[in-house]
Symmetry: C4
Subunit: 204 residues, 4 copies
């Protein structure tokens, strides 16, 4: 059992390292060209605002994913091959986040990049949800004392809420990408639980 502890920890720390790197690389999008004349600086800083907005959304989305990942793995004490593969699939979506984020940072006023971004987040949410369901379906992987059914129910609700926001944002993008981008803020406003409230209840 201690063995299992060590092994699941290696998976957790590896996932954390990948998430930490991806979240830090997001900021590489924010750059001024070199050797600007002093009068051009303000204009270029203002020109970075759409990228800053994309950075902010993506940073907090990855933060929310980390907290959700955290919550799932708090309930897991062992892994199987399926869990590892689903976890790597989730990490793949995380690794691709700086790319999709740079798409909406650079071309957020166009619909296609926005839809790519929203579908990307949807796939990541589906995968994380799948990770939780896989654990719930294999109770020997879970910490004793966790009820798989309530775990699964609680989980599904949260993921459905996130997916609904992405679907709404995609629908909105057919009318206005500006409105669609602001729709994503619903992720944090409408369900603050995504940013850790439930975690607090679970722990303290």
């Amino acid at each position: 059992m201690i063995e299992r502890g060590r092994e699941i920890e290696r998976t957790i720390y590896f996932s954390d390292a990948v998430i930490a790197i991806a979240i830090t690389l997001l900021a590489l999008e924010l750059r001024l060209p070199q050797d600007l004349a002093s009068g051009e600086i303000v204009r270029h800083l203002v020109g970075l605002l759409p990228r800053l907005y994309a950075f902010l959304i993506s940073f907090w989305v990855i933060a929310a994913y980390w907290m959700a990942h955290h919550r799932i793995f708090n309930c897991i004490r062992a892994y199987d091959g399926g869990l590892l593969r689903i976890n790597f699939l989730f990490l793949m979506w995380i690794v691709l986040m700086p790319f999709s984020s740079s798409l909406i940072g650079g071309y957020g006023d166009l619909q296609l990049p926005f839809v790519v971004y929203a579908v990307h987040l949807m796939l990541a949410t589906f995968t994380l949800s799948w990770l939780g369901l896989h654990a719930a379906r294999n109770p020997h992987l879970m910490e004793p004392g966790v009820d798989p059914r309530s775990f699964r129910r609680q989980y599904s609700h949260r993921m459905l809420a996130m997916i609904a926001v992405f679907a709404l944002a995609i629908a909105a993008s057919f009318f206005s990408t500006t409105v669609a981008e602001f729709t994503l803020i619903l992720l944090f406003v409408a369900r603050p639980g995504l940013l850790g409230r439930r975690a607090s209840r679970g722990v303290t």
Copy 2:
């Protein structure tokens, strides 16, 4: 209680990974163009000096933040959603450091980039201070044996000192950005405790 230990550790290691990546990315600013003629190398190396100065300041500022973060989390044994969110806000400022650092590396002789940099550091210090206060206000999050009041007092003094240096630097930048940049060295000269002296007393 062991559970809590493991979970708070995951938060700590994730924070450390983000800080480690940001501190390493600072050096990416230091680059020579390819295919210079041999006579141009010295000139270009000299031209890197402002970037090297920005690197040095930012490296040791992040080092000081890591040590302060370290000191706070040494006193914390559990977390709640608020702690996680404040910690992520702090990490967001860390992740943005390579950007602000590149601003003063490239345009340190202009006031605006310097003010952006100093305000950025001020916000990071406020956030770290908020993290400490949040823990002090929720004693069930703290290690037994830590006195929240003395923790808070000690904390506030150090943060106020840092913020005073940033305010002084911003004020100085209205007269000379060179003077303003050197003001930041006060962070390390005037309060060596920022670079770990208190930590040593606490531990050994």
Copy 3:
């Protein structure tokens, strides 16, 4: 014995950090140029497809290496200088992966880049295999309860299968690089065990 545990863990976490960074840097290849006209976006996104394919192959190859590395180190409880050196050699191949991956992402229709990539993967597989053999030949490095002979046999088979796929892909590249690239998918189709099935059996 606890000492040994801590030291081997530092080696494992260091390896994990290197692998996590390399797998995340793979995605840096996926970028659109800035300031495209809106009509050019689709064309450039389509133009990224070969790079996306290279990313997918390399991501899952590194994932498979991580899982194999994981499986070997699950059986190791101590290290010697030889183990450290072989592990660093393996990490060197991992660190070079983003380079080779960018070669086939940018020039996958030419034979030379493809052969460089396949030989690179072959060398990485050889090195990982050498790591396992080194441990099997020094039983005092292994966890008690692991049979070195069955460990070695099981190991050799898996590595030989991977190397056979790379050899086949190199042979195929003399006729068509497209066919050769698809041959690599055999890594995952023909031997799903590479992606963790055995791990599950070993653990649960």
Copy 4:
């Protein structure tokens, strides 16, 4: 005492993360330009050889530093502010390695970049040596059972050997940078202990 264990571990893992990132970023120097004609690929790959040589030297130098850092921290069980500061100074040299490495990768045929690189390695070695001496002078920081005097003596010899190689390489660079670069290989040939032999003796 457990407390001390956890805190020193955070320092170790943070150091490992910084070293892991720096060693991985070394490979970013190896890149082909995009959209080369097929006939130009071979020429450009050959043109990367000096960068590959710089990568190889720097990769194994950082690997040797990691192992030396590892050996020192195996003997340390607590830290003080001085130790943290010296460790950050050492990490600063590590973070700057990709820069110096790119200097000799791009301009290795000129003396100045080579001397910058060799002096850089010298400073890193001095700092690591200082770290060991600081621990040896403060026996309460060391693991019980480690003899500070033999630790210090053994340490100083190894560091002096490394510094002698760098001094020799700098001297050689006045005659030929090619000879000077090959001198660095002495680090690994003349003192294989740098690459872990002593570690093995210490552990098994």
